[in-house]
């Protein structure tokens, strides 16, 4: 699905557990402007139904490694938004 009007780069967003439940998706393809960061993607997610439940600084992983909100995202990237971890 598309969340912005400036369709330039599509990235895949993965949601899990409580986040997937509240936003109603576990996978979203989102178009972002060039040079967008993880933080920008989070802003787009917060604008979606249920997105207001995302915390200010959720754990994020870009292509399987944790990243900071300032990290840039690019075409084909997989960005996972991780609820508080509860393994063990």
């Amino acid at each position: 699905m598309s969340a912005v009007t400036d369709h330039t780069t599509t990235i895949r967003v993965l949601l899990f557990a409580s986040y997937a439940e509240r936003l109603g998706h576990d996978v979203l393809d989102i178009s972002v402007p060039p040079g967008a960061t993880v933080g920008r993607v989070l802003e787009l997610l917060r604008a979606l139904p249920g997105g207001d439940m995302l915390p200010r600084h959720p754990l994020c992983a870009l292509n399987l490694a944790q990243v900071a909100p300032e990290a840039p995202v690019g075409p084909g990237d997989e960005l996972a938004i991780l609820p508080p971890l509860a393994g063990g």
Partner: protein, 157 residues
């Protein structure tokens, strides 16, 4: 290597996998599903994971432990539905002596809990279900807390 499994963990096989003639100190940790959480009776729980990242993170943790101490490490974590008493996480560490075995075992469980993307949903005796969002810090597992932490975990780890 598959660190995540949806089948019961074979404790003996895990121990066997790290045993060798030169390793005389073997430490293990098993985290089992508890029947209570925050004063509520727990019936069972469901673990889910970001599989690809969880596997990668487990591999990194094991590699870190094996680089830091002269040990062999085996690690498994269950996903899917677990009943009370089921082993959710299992770690076996073998070294020449006990010091490195205990230290590495402790390191692995703490890193698993803080870094591996796994989530659990608890089903309570009153019929409600909730995603567990722990406020835990290092070392607040069942073995280390006095009962004052409101949001602990559903397993003994």
């Amino acid at each position: 290597m598959d660190f995540l499994t949806d089948r019961p963990i074979d404790h003996v096989a895990l121990l066997r996998s790290v045993e060798s003639a030169e390793r005389g100190g073997i430490a293990c940790f098993f985290g089992a599903v508890r029947n209570h959480h925050g004063g509520r009776a727990v019936l069972r729980l469901d673990y889910s994971a970001y599989g690809a990242m969880a596997e990668a993170e487990c591999a990194r943790i094991v590699a870190e432990a094996e680089a830091r101490w002269p040990v062999a490490v085996a690690l498994r974590h269950r996903i899917g539905r677990l009943e009370i008493g089921d082993t959710a996480v299992a770690i076996a560490v073998a070294g020449a002596h006990r010091d490195e075995a205990f230290a590495a075992c402790r390191y692995v469980i703490e890193e698993v809990k803080s870094r591996v993307p796994i989530w659990k949903r608890e089903l309570y005796a009153d019929g409600t279900e909730e995603w567990v969002e722990p406020t835990r810090q290092r070392g607040d597992g069942a073995e280390g807390q006095g009962g004052g932490v409101p949001a602990g975990q559903g397993s003994g780890s």
